[in-house]
């Protein structure tokens, strides 16, 4: 009893001098619609993942060295030697993955439930900016790993920035910190990742939450009950007055349970799989490199390979810009009407389409069928079916002239061009000769590269590429 009285007195004193307890309690106990259940956990899960990133990021910063010359060895130290370092890196990596995933789920849920409509247009718009900041954090975070992949990712980013009209060259130089990768590069990526973007994220999370409190948590939509800006606020208030429940603790427990489960998953993944491997050192003179972004941008890597070449210069710059502006403008274009996804087939279709598209691009990005296979070995005698003569010589040429880097033959080779395992069933020697000599959009012309004897040998080999059918 005595303890309780002391606590009460202390709390009264803090309330009197700061007003913080009542401020917290007012906000935490704001009324929420009662049937806002498990669908509503993704926003707080995003916030929770961000907090995981802040905690693990600050801890990593105690040992990280943002120096172009030393960053890689600092990372090696954190990864290999520092107690808990590898685990902490893993937490930061899977925390980032969770944050990207939760932002995506939160966005899809808000869109499908029509919660972005009047009066919550700016909740959505600030959310879109937060999505952008999250992706920038993902990219700069991958770059702070400061291995070979990191420096080439910066180059790729700078090359994309350079395509922007007028300001492009400046933007590229800003990213690189000058003309080339060098001493200035890592420090600016570090400043962005650790100060500028997190500062913006904190500010916009504040604004985002302020808006949530101002307009209230949106009620789950009912089909046939459209949003009318004239009456919406009154109806929402009546709903809350009648059936609203205090957010804390009636709704908050689901957020807590989900967030804790998410943290557990992050921990298990970090413990079991650990952080991504470090690549080669960040030495731009090591030419053997195959730069790839982390998974959350791998789909965009595929986009860059698959854009029609002649439209690329427009799409590379205006595509992302237009997509971002459209997302921000969305609630202003459609701020009234039906909220329920049962009455918004196009909304459901676009979410499905975007999901399928990103999944398909993501899969392609992981396979990179457009990249030459630099590891292709000369075809074995069993596959070639000859150990001397023109067929054998042609098979050698097929490897040496780089054909096998892009063409698949019976279990080996690249995926860029058509599979040639059975080419002789499709094309006559003459057709093959024309194709080899003249090339195509995705194939070099070999007319000047092969002697007539070499061409004959190559054709002799290709003519044997026929699957025996009964």
């Amino acid at each position: 009893m005595r303890l309780r009285r002391i606590y009460q007195q202390a709390c009264d004193w803090v309330e009197d001098r700061t007003g913080i307890p009542s401020w917290i309690s007012q906000n935490a106990k704001h009324l929420a619609p009662p049937d806002a259940k498990w669908w509503y956990v993704f926003g707080s899960a995003t916030l929770c993942a961000f907090l995981v990133q802040v905690v693990t990021g600050v801890a990593l910063a105690f040992s990280y060295v943002p120096s172009s010359g030393e960053g890689f060895s600092a990372l090696k130290f954190i990864n290999d030697d520092a107690p808990l370092g590898h685990f902490l890196r893993g937490l930061h990596y899977y925390g980032a993955s969770a944050m990207v995933l939760m932002v995506g789920l939160h966005m899809a849920q808000v869109f499908l439930f029509g919660s972005y409509k009047f009066p919550r247009e700016l909740n959505w718009a600030t959310g879109v900016l937060l999505l952008g900041f999250t992706l920038v954090m993902g990219f700069t975070g991958q770059t702070l790993r400061w291995d070979q992949n990191a420096i080439w990712s910066v180059v790729v980013a700078a090359e994309q920035a350079a395509r922007v009209p007028v300001a492009g060259k400046w933007m590229a130089r800003f990213l690189l910190g000058g003309d080339t990768i060098g001493g200035a590069t890592l420090t600016r990526v570090f400043a962005l990742h650790v100060f500028i973007i997190p500062g913006l994220i904190v500010a916009f999370i504040g604004l985002h939450l302020m808006l949530v409190l101002r307009h209230g948590i949106s009620e789950p939509p009912k089909a046939g009950k459209p949003v009318d800006p004239k009456t919406y606020r009154k109806e929402y208030q009546e709903l809350l007055d009648k059936t609203g429940r205090p957010f804390w603790p009636d709704a908050a427990w689901r957020d807590t349970v989900f967030c804790t489960a998410m943290i557990l998953v992050i921990t298990l993944l970090a413990w079991h799989f650990g952080a991504p491997q470090l690549g080669k050192p960040p030495d731009p003179s090591i030419i053997e490199a195959s730069p790839r972004p982390d998974w959350y941008l791998l789909w965009y890597f595929a986009v860059l390979a698959l854009l029609p070449y002649n439209l690329e210069k427009y799409l590379m710059v205006w595509g992302p810009l237009f997509a971002g502006l459209f997302l921000i403008a969305l609630p202003f274009l459609f701020n009234r009407g039906e909220r329920s996804f049962r009455r918004r087939p196009w909304a459901v279709a676009s979410v499905l389409l975007i999901t399928v598209m990103i999944a398909a691009l993501w899969r392609l990005g992981a396979q990179t069928p457009w990249s030459p296979n630099f590891k292709a070995q000369p075809l074995s005698a069993a596959i070639v079916g000859a150990t001397n003569g023109p067929v054998f010589a042609g098979a050698r040429l097929f490897h040496d002239k780089g054909c096998l880097n892009c063409h698949w033959v019976a279990g080996d080779g690249g995926r860029r061009g058509p599979d040639l395992t059975d080419v002789a069933s499709r094309l006559s020697p003459n057709q093959m000769l024309l194709r080899i000599a003249n090339g195509g959009v995705n194939m070099p012309a070999y007319a000047a590269n092969l002697t007539p004897a070499e061409m004959d040998a190559l054709l002799a080999f290709l003519e044997t590429r026929k699957i025996q059918r009964r």
């Binding site: 790729v156 700078a158 690189l176 003179s285 030459p372 780089g402």
Partner: protein, 178 residues
């Protein structure tokens, strides 16, 4: 008089002309003085951050070895140091180029950066082709585009022979502006 706090977007309701001019002056004075203070801090900070935009680097010639170390017709990767590396640049101060000895005393130096998005292209000697690992760009041995997305031929760096040494002039990472 209405409480100005209830109408944040409305201008202050002011009663007498003297009050108007005094309040208006104070409001503007306040903004002006505060603005000057903010600018004094912000300008050098922003200037420091964007300084790399305006720095023009003087390029230098870097020796990549004796002429005799290169065989005519062969294309090899060479590495050299950037023009003015910062003291803590470490290995990031290095650059690479594809160097080919064309004849007894002429050389070509290709940038290793693919003109599509800058990834380092590899030379396949037997095939006489450069291939890019990122998005499938391919170049002929003269650097012109053979296949894939690159919009421009591989860039070249100036290269010269002096005192029996091959020298490449450093340069920025070539940016494709289209």
């Amino acid at each position: 008089m209405k409480d100005p706090n209830t109408e944040p977007c409305a201008r202050l309701r002011l009663s007498s002309p003297e009050e108007i001019s005094r309040r208006r002056f104070l409001a503007r004075f306040n903004l002006a003085v505060g603005g000057v203070g903010a600018l004094i801090v912000a300008l050098p900070a922003v200037g420091f951050i964007i300084a790399p935009f305006f720095q023009r680097r003087t390029e230098v010639w870097r020796s990549v070895g004796k002429v005799d170390a290169y065989k005519v017709g062969e294309t090899v990767a060479v590495e050299y140091e950037d023009a003015a590396p910062w003291p803590w640049a470490g290995v990031t101060a290095k650059s690479a180029a594809w160097l080919r000895r064309e004849s007894a005393d002429t050389f070509i130096a290709f940038s290793v950066n693919c003109t599509h998005l800058g990834c380092p292209v590899r030379w396949l000697a037997a095939a006489d082709l450069f291939m890019c690992p990122c998005h499938g760009g391919v170049y002929y041995k003269d650097g012109t585009v053979a296949a894939g997305p690159p919009p421009l031929p591989l860039r070249r760096y100036p290269v010269r022979v002096q005192n029996g040494e091959v020298q490449i002039r450093t340069g920025p990472i070539p940016l494709t502006k289209k």
